[in-house]
């Protein structure tokens, strides 16, 4: 279970997270939705300690990661996988080297074992014959899948997805959702997905939390969110122009 208690974060004068409370259940897919620029990615970065809150605490399975030393934090991070918005593949390495990198650095597996596991991980995400390509030779969707393969490889307990479908066409977007769902069923990790892909994300997630003005506006199952009377939630999931959400 991941718990955020009264997490507050400001960049300069701009308060992004404002006394935010959120509980993320183990073994489920939780989607964090909300308008662009509301700090969804910032929230995700707090969960893995890439950002430290100005106030409040982040607790991962009972361990407070807010004030951990680097070594302790690295120990907790061993349990995480992270899929970056732009995939964040190492551009000086081939696809194979990218996926193999964490294995090479953290395990004592032989070269053959590493090759097998990397191949399997790439096949899991539906990629073949891309081993020797460099990231800049891949499409956005392929890069995300390589990123997912890299995140899955060490069999993490928790995977954080930072907008896994942004910039993909609707078909690949659905394929990505299905891929996340399938791998989730297979490996049973806890997933947190930051996205504004509504309503299609509702088909794969167990819980939804909507972020608005630095707080969780509403949290519940997809059905509860759909049935919500909250004007902010209604406006967002229906994509209406009129309502409390203002676009400048």
């Amino acid at each position: 279970m991941i718990e955020l208690f009264r997490v507050t974060k400001a960049f300069g004068d701009q308060v992004v997270l404002n006394h935010l409370d959120l509980t993320i259940p183990t073994g489920k897919i939780t989607a964090v939705i909300g308008p662009s620029g509301e700090g969804k990615s910032v929230l995700l970065r707090h969960i893995i300690g890439l950002l430290k809150p100005d106030m409040g605490r982040v607790i991962v399975d009972g361990e407070d990661i807010t004030h951990m030393s680097r070594a302790e934090l690295n120990r907790v991070r061993e349990r995480f996988g992270f899929l970056f918005q732009n995939s964040a593949l190492f551009d000086s390495m081939t696809v194979f080297e990218n996926v193999a990198f964490p294995l090479q650095e953290k395990t004592r597996l032989s070269k053959d074992e590493i090759r097998d596991r990397v191949r399997r991980a790439l096949e899991d995400v539906g990629l073949r014959d891309v081993d020797d390509k460099y990231p800049d030779q891949l499409s956005g969707g392929m890069k995300k899948r390589v990123g997912l393969a890299r995140a899955l490889l060490l069999k993490p307990d928790i995977i954080l997805f930072d907008e896994p479908t942004t910039g993909l066409d609707p078909i690949i977007c659905n394929a990505m959702h299905r891929l996340i769902k399938e791998t989730h069923q297979r490996y049973g990790f806890t997933a947190v997905i930051v996205t504004h892909e509504v309503p299609s994300i509702f088909d794969i997630c167990g819980y939804v939390a909507m972020l608005y003005r630095g707080r969780i506006q509403m949290r519940g199952t997809p059905d509860e969110i759909r049935a919500s009377e909250d004007p902010v939630v209604r406006q967002f999931i229906n994509g209406e122009l009129e309502g409390p959400l203002k676009f400048v």
């Binding site: 893995i48 890439l50 680097r70 991070r77 970056f84 732009n86 964040a88 551009d91 650095e105």
Partner: protein, 256 residues
């Protein structure tokens, strides 16, 4: 009035914060070098990039520096009728001063800028964050090999610079201006002491640290976007170059 005071105060504070951050950066980097120097292959790669690939530019600058030193030295020395001293003038200026400083400046321009740009792009494309979330220490993969590479490469490049410069001086002084070749090398041998060589090496090692420190630091703390990378790269080159010259003065005054 109040706003001026506030501005100055804010400026001082941000300067102090930056200096503190730089100091912590190099201290942590050195600590990581001791604890996890990185794989030899990564260090060799950096050594090749910072050192071997700088050879050509060092060769050119060294040759022409030695040649112009001989020309100027010859012109000055003939005024005192002591052109036989040309060898020691060329050698001492190169070994004590120009070799370490010019090779460091050339490396800053060629390799230092590339280091900042590369690390900066890794920062803005979240590749450094990717290392961190994999619980892999970015300093071990990015900083340690570069700092070690620069520490080893700089004194070697400086030695090459010295030798090529001396031969460049020989070419102009002896072959062109007609200085006695025996006198050129004999005077050199007589006047160059171990202390001169040693101080030159010490200088170039410290310049290696300065270049890798500033360039890695500026890359690591790059702000968003292509503009951020260009800004850090410029800042890294300017700052390293200035720091090299300032530090050179202090080191010379201590070692003299």
């Amino acid at each position: 009035m109040l706003s001026i005071a506030r501005y100055l105060g804010a400026l001082t504070l941000s300067l102090l914060r930056e200096l503190g951050r730089m100091l912590l950066f190099i201290l942590y980097a050195l600590y990581m070098i001791v604890r996890a120097p990185g794989k030899p292959v990564h260090i060799l790669k950096q050594l090749s990039f910072i050192g071997a690939k700088s050879f050509f530019v060092i060769f050119l600058t060294a040759a022409f520096t030695g040649m112009v030193l001989a020309l100027q030295g010859y012109y000055t020395l003939t005024k005192f009728g002591s052109e036989g001293m040309l060898g020691s003038v060329v050698a001492l200026s190169l070994i004590r001063e120009l070799g370490p400083v010019l090779s460091a400046l050339m490396v800053t321009g060629r390799a230092g800028s590339a280091i900042t740009a590369e690390i900066g792009i890794m920062r803005i494309t979240e590749q450094i964050d990717a290392l961190e979330v994999m619980a892999l220490e970015p300093f071990k993969y990015l900083m340690s090999p570069r700092i070690l590479g620069a520490l080893i490469a700089l004194p070697l490049l400086c030695a090459i610079f010295d030798v090529i410069g001396i031969y460049g001086g020989y070419l102009v002084g002896v072959k062109l201006m007609g200085v006695n070749p025996g006198a050129y090398f004999h005077e050199m041998e007589k006047s160059v002491e171990w202390k001169d060589v040693y101080s030159g090496i010490l200088k170039s090692v410290s310049f290696g640290l300065i270049i890798s420190w500033i360039c890695c630091y500026k890359g690591y703390y790059t702000s968003r976007g292509a503009e951020g990378v260009s800004r850090s790269t410029t800042a890294a080159v300017v700052m390293s170059s200035v720091l090299i010259l300032v530090w050179d003065y202090f080191l010379t005054s201590v070692l003299l």
